[in-house]
Amino acid sequence: MGNLFWIFISAMVVNNFTLAYFLGLCPFMGVSGRIYTALRMGAANVFVLTVASICAWFLNTFILPYAPYLKLISFILVIASAVQITEMTIKKLSPALFRALGIYLPLITTNCAILFMAWSQANRGYSFAEGLFFAWGAGAGLTVALVLMASIREDLEYVEIPAIARGNAIVFIIAGILSLAFMGFAGLLSS
């Protein structure tokens, strides 16, 4: 149990997917303007991460021992299909949620966080439960980073920013400061 907890916290804060591994930067730069959108994007990510983690575990246990060279191809195809299936399921079950998630769902296919999660899960030899907690921790970490960034950017609109820092420059520098703050979590679970 301690191991599962450590995997979760490590992926969420100590080695935050966005702020320490630079994963999911496209949505981080693109949709972190509003807290509400950031939360929805985070939720979509958690969902796809969970599906991808289960699929990756199956591939890794039953197929890849026999064909290790297919690892990357099978992972990326599984992720693309998982996103597609998620999209169709949500469309059927809850059209309102589907509209709310909008273009974020297909975008997730090219979100490197998903592939990184599946790849690392396989490389570290995680069990089924460990993989799930890894995926949830990663999803929680992405959501935390997105929401933090969005809340700062919402306030940034009322601030006089020097002209040369407008656009992405200031977002990167804020991300750097957030990343610096998250370094403070190091050593959290090992004293």
Binding site: S10, V14, C26, Y69, I103, L107, G187, S190
Partner: protein, 230 residues
């Protein structure tokens, strides 16, 4: 042609259904043939490259392992690979068990065939991420012979001294197990003391903890194996 390749990617995916409704319908067998033949060609290329690169990759992994075992057992003449299977050491696990999935220890022998000790690997979370290491253990004397960190993501300049600080690495040459970490300058001279690195207390403590935890679990197994063998 503008430079917004990123939005091209996403719009390409969204535009897909509309594009197909404007164009004449492509029969689905053609879609399957395209994907199928692309997949078959990809598979063929990958198998070819896989068999081309595998020898070099395996040779590198074997060399890394050999160097690590050489270092922590202080230059054994030869060594045996032993698998931990059902609470005992065995040189040959049953055929229906995947040997690669079992825990391994390495028993090193000196020039006259005497046993030098076991090389044991372990991993636990350090300051930033997992620290992986291998260490040598002499069961007759009950001492740690040597330690080598295999992988770590500790802070450069501070935590990574567990690899780069040769004085710290040398501390693991001969202390009595179980080890006890002491802050530098507070040493009392006891046989199980290991001086920790100033500024990298958590990383040093993790190294000591990995060794102690592994030994606590494996020591009965190692001793049982030696008794049986002698």
């Amino acid at each position: 042609m503008s430079g917004n390749g990123g939005s091209d990617v996403t719009s390409g995916q969204r535009v897909l259904p509309q594009a197909s409704s404007q164009r004449p319908e492509v029969p689905s067998w053609r879609l399957l043939v395209t994907l199928g033949s692309a997949g078959a060609l990809a598979g063929l290329l990958l198998v070819f490259v896989y068999y081309l690169t595998q020898p070099a990759i395996q040779a590198y992994k074997a060399r890394m392992l050999r160097e690590a075992v050489q270092e922590v057992l202080k230059g054994p003449q030869r060594w045996d690979t032993l698998y931990v299977y059902e609470g005992a050491l065995t040189p040959q696990p049953p055929a229906d068990v995947d040997a690669a999935s079992l825990e391994m220890v390495f028993l090193g022998y000196g020039a006259d065939g005497e046993r030098l000790g076991f090389a044991i690997s372990g991993a636990e979370p350090g300051f930033q991420d997992l620290i992986e290491l291998i260490f040598g253990y002499d069961p007759q004397a009950g001492t740690v012979i040597g330690m080598k960190v295999l992988a770590n993501k500790e802070t450069p300049g501070l935590g990574d001294k567990i690899v780069k600080d040769s004085a710290f690495v040398a501390e693991f040459d001969g202390p009595q197990a179980p080890l006890a970490g002491v802050k530098s300058g507070r040493a009392t001279g006891a046989a199980n003391e290991v001086d920790m690195i100033t500024g990298a207390t958590i990383s040093s403590r993790t190294v000591i903890r990995i060794i102690n935890n592994r030994l606590e679990r494996l020591r009965p197994i190692l001793e049982a194996y030696l008794e049986e063998a002698s």
